[in-house]
Symmetry: C2
Subunit: 193 residues, 2 copies
């Protein structure tokens, strides 16, 4: 048994530079198929996705780009794919608030991101966008909320980028140590992992 986590999880990275390689309909289908098979509370499947491809629909692409924070627009505008992930706020079966809906959209976007890595693409999620503007510009109806924006595409070849950017983009990802986030038995319990 390998003592490493799966390569798609190990190598996943939110890149900011993308190649011009086109994302085909088949690839798009695989990304959203993966998201669709996520688990959700009461199998509500609260996620909804609105995407645009820059080349195929420049007007639609411009609308999503407009919703992003300025700092994100500067790099995301070279991504072939932009998307907004939405959630259905209430359960379908009883129309009461689904307090797990945002959590479940998070699950679907994580799984979409892992599938993207398997296919050689990178997904860069953004909290930095204007949900109200997105809801208006993209005709998101009452009962649904825009939760996350994301840019995606095949990562650029770092060798094609200026050396300063190469260095920044090559920085290893950082995480807290395992013992700071995993406890055995109760809060603070030493897991020995």
């Amino acid at each position: 048994m390998s003592l490493e986590i799966h390569s798609s999880i190990q190598n996943r990275k939110s890149v900011r530079f993308f190649s011009e390689k086109t994302i085909t309909k088949e690839i798009l289908t695989l990304l959203f198929e993966a998201a669709r098979w996520s688990p959700s509370c009461f199998n509500e499947q609260p996620w909804r996705f609105i995407y645009t491809l820059q080349k195929e629909n420049p007007d639609g692409y411009g609308k999503i780009l407009d919703c992003l924070a300025t700092a994100n627009q500067s790099w995301a505008s070279n991504a072939p794919l932009l998307l907004i992930a939405c959630t259905k706020t209430n359960f379908t079966y009883n129309n009461r608030p689904n307090t797990h809906s945002v959590y479940d959209v998070g699950q679907s976007m994580a799984i979409l991101s892992i599938q993207a890595e398997v296919l050689g693409l990178s997904v860069h999620q953004m909290a930095g966008f204007d949900p109200k503007q997105a809801e208006e510009l993209l005709s998101i109806p009452d009962g649904f909320r825009a939760i996350t924006a994301a840019a995606a595409g095949y990562p650029a070849n770092l060798n094609d980028l200026p050396s300063k950017i190469q260095a920044k983009e090559s920085e290893p990802r950082k995480r807290h140590p395992l013992q700071d986030c995993v406890f055995e038995g109760k809060w603070g319990g030493n897991s020995g992992l």
Copy 2:
């Protein structure tokens, strides 16, 4: 290129019957390592996990089991591993509410679940538990909230189970069609996927 989604995503299932096979420390480490490498807003990494193994810590296991809804206790009590996923509610850098923290815990649990599938285990998440009870019993401090419970282990061999249970556990998972949750350009836009 394969036109199928990754097997760990395709085959992931929230089983209710587990084998007695032990979960080693190495496997546990891989599960939480995978979760730890999830993306998060401002790289806050709001997730915290409290786990217990039934055999190693029956008292701790009993505490988490106590927090589950009765309907979940009935099947989850045969899982070797129980866990509670928590979130840090405020950003560390400015102590203001992190409105993406629950979303990000969802991401980490989805990635943990995918890693589990890669290793032959199944993770069954539950909204059906008492977060307040968990926070008290497990000494979860102020500033953190219990979000999700989960049971995990190696799935039982279906052939060892009564035929009625076999049939129920073999039911295919169901999801809405892709065209109901993926739109092109704006809400309702036909994606053609």
